[in-house]
């Protein structure tokens, strides 16, 4: 089993946090994992992306150049990462912010209105968790429960009610299914 993931969006959307969380969850499930961030001149409002690998065997390179799944949280990310997805792979599109439609026909596309769902839950910040929930349900690479268990490990200072809200967002995201 090998799942290479690329998550991309604006700085401040929780791209890096989501990636670290996935790696932590994978590790807690006993899998081999790696996480690699884009780094340097990143800032709120700029672009950020990261690579995550969850696998049954040792991870060779932590940089995912042809992802099995790309999660794009904003418009520029779609332009940048749609062409990189492995044929037959999955593209998760944050349809709240991405207006364009992917053009490739050799990949699966899952539209998730992450911001809208997060807004309904009362906190727009959990939009990255909505995307992760959708990823977990669509790929089965990591369970929603594992991600939920990883939350307090990665974010030790989060209050229980905030953790709970994040878990809710994960579960709402998991309700989105591929057609």
């Amino acid at each position: 089993m090998y799942q290479g993931i690329r998550i991309s969006g604006f700085g401040g959307q929780g791209v890096i946090s989501a990636g670290v969380l996935l790696a932590q969850a994978g590790m807690m499930e006993g899998k081999e994992v790696s996480f690699f961030p884009s780094y340097g001149a990143e800032m709120r409002g700029g672009t950020a992306n990261c690579s995550v690998v969850v696998a049954s065997d040792e991870v060779s390179t932590p940089i995912v150049s042809t992802p099995d799944t790309a999660i794009v949280l904003n418009e520029p990310s779609l332009v940048k990462f749609e062409p990189t997805v492995r044929p037959g792979g999955l593209l998760i599109v944050n349809s709240s912010l991405v207006n364009s439609k992917p053009t490739r026909t050799d990949i699966k596309v899952l539209y998730v209105p992450c911001n809208q769902v997060a807004g309904e839950l009362g906190n727009g910040k959990v939009m990255n968790m909505v995307a992760l929930g959708a990823f977990a349900a669509a790929t089965g690479a990591i369970s929603v429960d594992a991600i939920a268990r990883a939350l307090p490990k990665v974010y030790k200072k989060l209050k229980p009610e905030v953790i709970e809200l994040n878990v809710k967002a994960l579960r709402r995201g998991a309700e989105f299914k591929l057609n």
Partner: protein
């Protein structure tokens, strides 16, 4: 088994140093190694040590020179352009036989280059880098766990042989996160015996001097030759390497750090297609595992060196083999990472065409 922790390579290196007894760090910020000083800034005070963000790389290396002269386990870290600035201090530490420990998380060069991971400082690290005849003990980690556990070995060698030591990583190893397990016992520096050359305030003992010069005629030669004896001991007893699938290999990839990880994937790809490929990974870059390469050359006639540089370690492989086997090169300069597929294609071409050299310079 201890619980595995998800850590960044840079943080693991810092924590590994503290657990190995480091109690003084001086450094100046530079990407992609900033997590090291950041981590040390809170971790060292917690451990009863001291952290200094210096005004420059030059002052940092000289602070570390001073700390090491008192026998303290100390550290400085930087990335390529900053390492260039430290070279004078490293040469002085080598000349004064001081056990300083250095982390270099390499980025693109020459000059200011860029902030992505690269392997262009191999020559600088293994050839001395500063002026004069000297060596540093250089270890090349291939992941976060080795970042965590190599400082222990570096301090051990540094103090035993009185030589600067270095962990030579690249930006990818520094920035990536992986599960980590600290495998070495934690060292409380209070339990360490004070070296018999260390400076201090004790007035009841013979005078001790730490210096890197001797102006009396013929004396410097004696000093250097005494050091060379230690270098020979290190070469004989501290050389480290790892081999993967080498038993039936007909071609051996030689690679370190991130290049070695990509090479593992390339090796698996090649094995699936029927090429008998193995991996030879130098763990110490100095001392370089020459003797083992010579032994391997008795049955392996083709070596492929894979590097994120124009080709630097390839010269050590050539020097070691001295014409005994073919040496090919897959070079990737400019702070970019080769893909497993590219490396596989190079191997395939070597087998099919027997061509001498493949530089993937575009």
């Amino acid at each position: 088994m201890a619980e595995k922790k998800l850590m960044k390579g840079n943080e693991a290196l810092a924590e590994g140093a503290v657990r190995a007894g480091c109690r003084f760090f001086a450094g100046y910020p530079i990407t992609p190694q900033n997590e090291i000083p950041e981590y040390m800034s809170w971790r060292l005070p917690q451990a009863g040590g001291a952290f200094v963000q210096s005004e420059s790389e030059v002052s940092a290396i000289n602070m570390v020179y001073g700390a090491a002269a008192t026998g303290v386990r100390c550290m400085t870290s930087s990335s390529s352009p900053g390492m260039s600035l430290k070279q004078e201090g490293i040469s002085y530490a080598a000349g004064a036989d001081l056990p300083i420990f250095i982390g270099n998380v390499m980025r693109g060069g020459p000059g200011l280059g860029n902030i992505a991971g690269a392997q262009g400082d191999y020559w600088q690290a293994t050839r001395g880098g500063g002026h004069g005849d000297y060596r540093s003990f250089v270890m090349a980690p291939n992941g976060v766990s080795e970042m965590a556990n190599f400082p222990h070995k570096c301090y051990e060698v540094s103090f035993k042989y009185r030589i600067p030591s270095m962990v030579l990583a690249d930006g990818i190893i520094g920035q990536m996160m992986e599960p980590v397990e600290f495998t070495n016992p934690e060292i409380d520096p209070k339990t360490l015996v004070e070296p018999d050359w260390a400076l201090g305030t004790n007035k009841d003992r013979a005078k001790r001097i730490v210096k890197s010069y001797d102006l009396r005629e013929g004396y410097l030669e004696v000093m250097v030759n005494e050091r060379v004896k230690r270098y020979k001991q290190i070469e004989a007893s501290e050389t480290m390497y790892e081999e993967k699938m080498m038993d039936d290999a007909e071609i051996a990839i030689v690679a370190y750090g991130t290049s070695a990880r990509v090479s593992v994937a390339a090796m698996k790809l090649a094995r699936e297609k029927g090429l008998k490929v193995g991996l030879f990974r130098p763990i110490t870059l100095w001392p370089f595992p020459k003797a083992r390469l010579v032994e391997l050359s008795k049955r392996i006639k083709k070596f492929l060196v894979v590097e994120m540089s124009l080709g630097q370690m390839v010269e050590d492989v050539q020097l070691s083999l001295n014409g005994r086997s073919e040496v090919h090169l897959h070079a990737k300069p400019g702070a970019s990472v080769m893909t497993a597929d590219e490396v596989y294609k190079t191997m395939d071409a070597i087998v099919k065409k027997g061509a001498k050299e493949y530089a993937a310079v575009k």
